[in-house]
Assembly symmetry: C2
Homo-oligomer: 349 residues x 2
DNA sequence: TTGTAAGCGTTATCAC
DNA sequence: GTGATAACGCTTACAA
């Protein structure tokens, strides 16, 4: 049985037991190859014998590195962010870094506060989700020279490292697909666009793609709601109750899309025969249950991996790409025929 | 414009600018009421002027508190853990603590390594998911006297603080419901039970409830697979292809259940007319799309909140409950009639 | 290869 | 209420 001493062993205890100086003991742990094998062995034995665990704060204070990386994300309630965060943690762990996590729930002021808290705790690097952030945040990390990477969206200024998706292009692609199917009556159930350039970019992409065909997205055809199933249901209800219901409803993310489909089911509206529901984000689950669903898939795990790799490269002093765009994938499933009313409307023109 | 000095301001800089000692400067920040208002004002002005941010490592070294709490969870890929983690982070943040997060992906050895890493980084408290952990983990946190709380499951030994669910009782409840509907042919698609007492408890609860009625769960009626949609599909396929397919399939979690339903759809098996699919965990999404689904709901957000509160109470030296069981909820939706074959089989006996 | 010793930036214990 | 000053436990020049 291991003897449990009153106090936790310190490096000096290890050094004494191994009959070396604290400097050598430290080296044995940090740079094993810079120490003679037999002394290394003695130190390691002492470490095991005492159950020594390094004191991170002391180590950080002396070495000026915490081996900790911060991540500030909107929320973990959304699978896409949870996945990405998971991937981040995994990659960082593999590189010997621990993850400090904070969720701001789409509140810009909270984001500033949380970021400040992380910096104060001490982080060697920072992952920020999205590109639009309070100037205070950029000021803090710039002044303290903390390496960072923006994820999910792509920075247009060229000032920041970023690895992400082109949300606008994704929206254009999805909209064009629907246009080719013959749709002309569009609507969107969008996430809240405030403090969320991903939501804004998606909405803009749709507007742009439609504008290219001379179609305008009327204000009453754009519903902005928080990401939730209930929002999706409500949004669809409002849209379909209007005098001129749309034939194609684009949803800001998978949760909204699922809610919209559920409401269609509840209202007896056939999908996609009467209305096409499409959306952004993963939706593996949704597509399983509603096989006709067309979506834009974003590889969130790869995003996390590459974002982590980018930041680690910066930390290693290597040459990390300033901008890395990940490809998205349009997943067309089920029917290719346009909804009934879309055909009628188109024909009438 | 704020002047950006070459180096980050230290407390001694603040003290000099405010014309006080570092001791007073420190007090002004830590115990504002122990300092005369006018000096407090001077210090605060200096802090603002210099953009001073405390050095966490130095602070932790001197005060022996990191204001950081660690959480080791299986994964964030599963919504239930992501939700709980989100709630934890939120609660801890509100109390001035930052969250260090690690995911072990159901690997016991990784869990030990990650926990050690968190301890090494310095944590004031620890949240562990589940009750079954490597003895090394308990040894480390006990020896270092780190307050901790076990979550999700309930500790039976009484040795640990825990706040969680009675997974076995939940399984009994769900099984009894199916028994009352007239089901006699049961099967389970379980998660991997190794290193997962939640999965084990659920399986055991089903076995117990059936045994009480003299029914045995045949080995070929228990399929153990990782939590994934694909697993659910495969599992159901195997079960229904057997010579004597079950009428009631209990799924270890929502993801497996959704997969099972999807496979039913693909195979043309009517749910719940030909087979009842039920499961554990949230399933708000699944139930929206397959209204007949009966599930056991676990309030994961409340769990996170209460677990955090328990740990914070311990940290504050207060009296935290040693064991806190959260109620689960059986959500019966849709049909109450037993599946067709179940009726036939029962009648034949 | 190893040892000596000077920090790292705070907090906390004393006196005053 | 405030100010010296000694920890806190480790890393890292610099010396040997």
């Amino acid at each position: 049985m291991i003897k449990t001493s009153r106090k936790n062993a310190k490096l000096s205890d290890v050094a004494r037991l191994a009959k070396v100086s604290t400097a050598t003991a430290s080296r044995a742990l940090m740079l094993p190859h810079k120490v003679r094998p037999c002394t290394l062995e003695r130190v390691q034995a002492a470490v095991r014998g005492l159950g020594y665990v390094a004191h991170g704060a002391a180590r950080a204070l002396a070495s000026r590195r915490t081996h900790t990386i911060g991540a500030v994300v909107p929320t973990l309630d959304n699978a896409i962010f949870a996945n990405t965060t998971h991937a981040l943690q995994k990659q960082f762990d593999a590189a010997g870094y621990t993850l400090l996590l904070a969720c701001h729930e789409f509140d810009a002021a909270v984001e500033v506060r949380l970021t400040r808290a992380l910096i104060e705790r001490g982080i060697d690097g920072l992952v920020l989700l999205g590109t639009s952030h309070d100037p205070q945040i950029y000021a803090m990390i710039t002044q303290r020279k903390i390496p960072y990477v923006l994820t999910w969206a792509l920075d247009t200024s060229g000032a920041h490292h970023c690895v992400g998706f082109n949300n606008r292009a994704a929206a254009v692609q999805l909209t064009n697909h629907l246009l080719e199917l013959g749709h002309r009556e569009f609507a969107m159930i969008s996430g809240v666009t405030a403090n969320n350039e991903r939501a804004r970019d998606r909405l803009q992409g749709i507007r742009d793609a439609l504008a290219a065909r001379g179609i305008k997205l009327a204000p009453e055809r754009v519903i902005e709601k928080p990401y939730s199933l209930a929002s999706g249901r409500e949004g669809l209800g409002v849209l379909m109750a209007s005098v001129r219901p749309p034939t194609a409803v684009l949803c800001g993310n998978d949760v909204l899309a699922i809610g919209a489909i559920a409401e269609c089911n509840a209202l007896g509206i056939a999908v996609p025969r009467q209305v096409s529901i499409t959306g952004f984000d993963d939706m593996e689950i949704a597509s399983l249950l509603s096989p006709g669903l067309t979506t834009v898939h974003f590889p969130t795990l790869e995003l996390g991996q590459l974002a982590a790799a980018n930041l680690l490269a910066q930390l290693a002093g290597g040459n990390a790409a300033k901008r890395h765009e990940l490809p998205i994938e349009l997943k067309v499933r089920g029917t290719t025929a346009p909804p009934v009313r879309a055909q009628l409307r188109t024909a009438r023109r």
